[in-house]
């Protein structure tokens, strides 16, 4: 198991999200994709965001990236408010420093450009001073980093396997030498050995360059292996946040427990260390009319009266371990 992570070691906050809200207006009502969340990201750490699908993880990333602007609340990057600045208004240094690898590699890469063009363009924009040969050198170095070869250079994204495309997207993101890298399901389309290779690569790059990662994923084995802290989201809210060690040993929120106990394991030994089975059940709640009280109450096996009446707040239950649940908070 990963060492218990000490928060003190990285007191330098690089990103601060405060009371962030992102709503979308649709024909059928207002979707509260992200509904008042706050968290910090420290320099050099990996913060994982896990949670239900549709809980607002990608939307949060999109606001940090400037693809959407915040409906309310703010995002501070190195103490500059960026939540209200859209991508096109962002200065180039800012765009260079915050990079992303997305969930759908097929669509984030231009289908008409070869791998060489894609990576070279990124290098050209961010490093105009390099000449052709230096660019090629850098390109080959990047390919080597992620485990692609020269053979891939002249292929179009459509001619690559799902996994290979993800590697190209990663090489492109690394091309600009970013400070904060957002990884939205970076390894979900890779085979397990490629996954491990990429993860080890990511860890090494992080060590060498003091890079900060926000890792969004559904793969809890990946989270366990590379993240320092975890935010668990459910329907637009953060329901639990703590160090990876804490979450895997002392998960307190029923949703987190349900999540951990549902991991499909590859051996009996693995099954044994997971929390006691909390059977997933119930209807998935609406993001337009979220359940009153606790948003998880409609699927929670332990819900009591108060859960449908009052919304639980995210409270510190143990040092650095925050939970939003009436059952837990009551016992403090």
């Amino acid at each position: 198991m990963k060492e218990p992570y000490e928060m003190k070691r990285c007191d330098k906050t690089i990103l601060k999200v405060e009371h962030l809200k992102k709503y979308f207006n649709t024909q059928k009502g207002t979707v509260r994709a992200v509904d008042d969340i706050s968290f910090n990201v420290f320099k050099g750490e990996t913060l994982a965001i896990v949670g239900e699908s549709g809980s607002g993880k990608t939307t949060t990333a999109n606001v940090i990236l400037g693809r959407y602007t915040a409906t309310e609340g703010s995002v501070f990057y190195k103490s500059i408010e960026i939540g209200s600045i859209s991508l096109t208004m962002r200065p180039i240094w800012l765009r260079r420093e915050i990079q992303v690898v997305f969930q759908d590699p097929a669509t984030s890469l231009n289908p008409k450009k070869t791998v060489k063009d894609i990576i070279e363009t990124a290098i050209k924009i961010h490093y105009p001073q390099l000449n052709k040969y230096e660019r090629i050198e850098k390109m080959l170095e990047l390919l080597g980093y992620v485990g692609l070869t020269e053979d891939h250079l002249f292929k179009l994204p459509g001619e690559l396997g799902g996994g290979e495309r993800q590697l190209v997207a990663l090489a492109r993101a690394l091309a600009t030498n970013p400070t904060l890298l957002i990884l939205d399901e970076p390894t979900s389309s890779l085979d397990v050995s490629a996954q491990s290779r990429i993860l080890v690569t990511l860890l090494n790059i992080q060590k060498n360059k003091d890079l900060t990662y926000i890792l969004i994923t559904h793969d809890l084995a990946v989270v366990k292996n590379i993240s320092h802290r975890i935010n668990v989201m459910y329907l637009g809210k953060i329901v639990e946040t703590a160090t990876t060690y804490e979450i895997f040993t002392k998960a307190l929120h029923p949703y987190t427990q349900m999540l951990l106990s549902s991991i499909p394991t590859i051996s009996e030994e693995e099954s044994k260390i997971l929390p006691k089975r909390v059977e997933p059940r119930g209807e998935v709640p609406s993001a337009i009319n979220p359940p009153s009280g606790c948003r998880f109450s409609s699927r929670c096996p332990f819900a009591i009266d108060i859960c449908t009446k009052r919304e639980p707040l995210l409270e510190e239950v143990i040092t650095d371990h925050f939970v939003a649940c009436h059952l837990v908070n009551k016992n403090v």
Binding site: G29, A106, S188, S193, H218, L259, T265, E270, V284
Partner: protein
């Protein structure tokens, strides 16, 4: 003309025999599938695992004949029931795609057309699947809403009227699942169906698929990199490497004791909850489909691949047990 419901052997709902597929690009030819044979029995749950780029998606696309235009089946046979899919009429092929076999595509966003709403997508599939039943539009919409509810999509009405970009990754994936379930009466081809779903939803969706498999007597081919999922959902597994099947075994046997050196590596390097990451550097270069190695495709990267026979002779099928085969010289002699 109808696909015969009667004449066929229950062990062979789908049979692929010695299939070769290549892709052409402007400069090169990639020999991506080389002599693939698999079979799926009625009600059987099959898994396919293997490296990224091993040709898994290509295999499924070949079965339904939805390969990209630069892809071509050069030889081999594919039988569905008693119909030879490579020789049958367009009409029969369409019937099979629309009413019998459903496919969950790997990349949900690419499988959805950005200018059409989810409603358009679902209605199109449902219309064909229920062609003969003469159902009117409002009923189809209700069926569509039920499908969305079955796949645990929140706000079904909102989602029905949304465009693909307005959905989260996991919602898009569930739409693709819903579309496949609408037409899968006999066989479900699932290519990485749950990578974008959190494990609780994943568990519920798999339960749903499991129930359908029971209820409709559905057979399934599941491709996934998530070994835990394969372990839970399938009965028999094929392992692919470099466009070849290299091992076949009942799932529990494979997970207890993988035989092929590649399969062993795969299991060793999988990210695990209990152990720290281990990344084994394979020697040699990644596979190049333009020039496949002589002998065993895996030999340049295999820890035991230095012998003469590995370099020169393509391994034959070795039956290790009655229900286990492996293509490797280690087990040959």
């Amino acid at each position: 003309m109808q696909v015969s419901d009667l004449v066929f052997d229950a062990n062979r709902l789908l049979t692929v025999k010695n299939l070769y597929v290549k892709y052409k690009s402007y400069w090169y030819i990639y020999h991506v599938l080389n002599d693939i044979s698999i079979n799926v029995g009625l009600g059987e749950k099959i898994g396919i695992i293997g490296e990224s780029g091993a040709g898994k998606t290509t295999l499924l696309k070949s079965i339904l004949q939805v390969l990209p235009i630069n892809g071509k089946i050069t030889s081999g046979e594919i039988f569905y029931r008693d119909v030879n899919l490579l020789k049958c009429s367009k009409q029969i092929l369409l019937e099979i795609r629309r009413k019998r076999v459903g496919m969950i595509f790997q990349d949900p966003l690419a499988a959805l057309n950005p200018v059409f709403t989810i409603k358009d997508h679902l209605l199109e599939v449902l219309r064909y699947a229920n062609e003969t039943a003469n159902i009117d539009k409002s009923d189809l919409i209700n069926i569509a809403l039920d499908l969305l509810r079955d796949t645990l999509i929140p706000d079904p009405e909102r989602i029905l009227n949304s465009y693909p970009f307005q959905l989260s990754g996991g919602m898009r994936q569930r739409i693709v699942i819903a579309m496949a379930l609408a037409s899968a009466r006999e066989l479900l081809l699932a290519d990485e169906p749950t990578t974008n779903l959190d494990v609780t939803i994943q568990a519920q969706i798999l339960k749903l698929i499991g129930e359908l498999v029971e209820k409709r007597g559905l057979s399934m081919i599941l491709i996934s990199h998530a070994l835990g999922l394969i372990r839970k959902m399938t009965e028999r597994v094929y392992v692919m490497y470099g466009g070849n099947i290299i091992e076949e075994a009942p799932t529990f046997k494979l997970f207890n004791e993988p035989l092929h050196p590649y399969t062993q590596l795969l299991f060793k390097t999988a990210p695990k909850i209990l152990e720290p990451l281990s990344s084994v550097e394979l020697r040699g270069n990644p596979l190049d489909y333009r020039n496949l190695p002589n002998g065993c495709v895996f030999h340049p990267r295999c820890p035991y691949g230095d012998s003469e026979v590995c370099r020169k002779v393509k391994p034959h099928q070795v039956k290790v047990e009655k229900d286990r085969t492996v293509y490797c010289h280690i087990y040959g002699s």
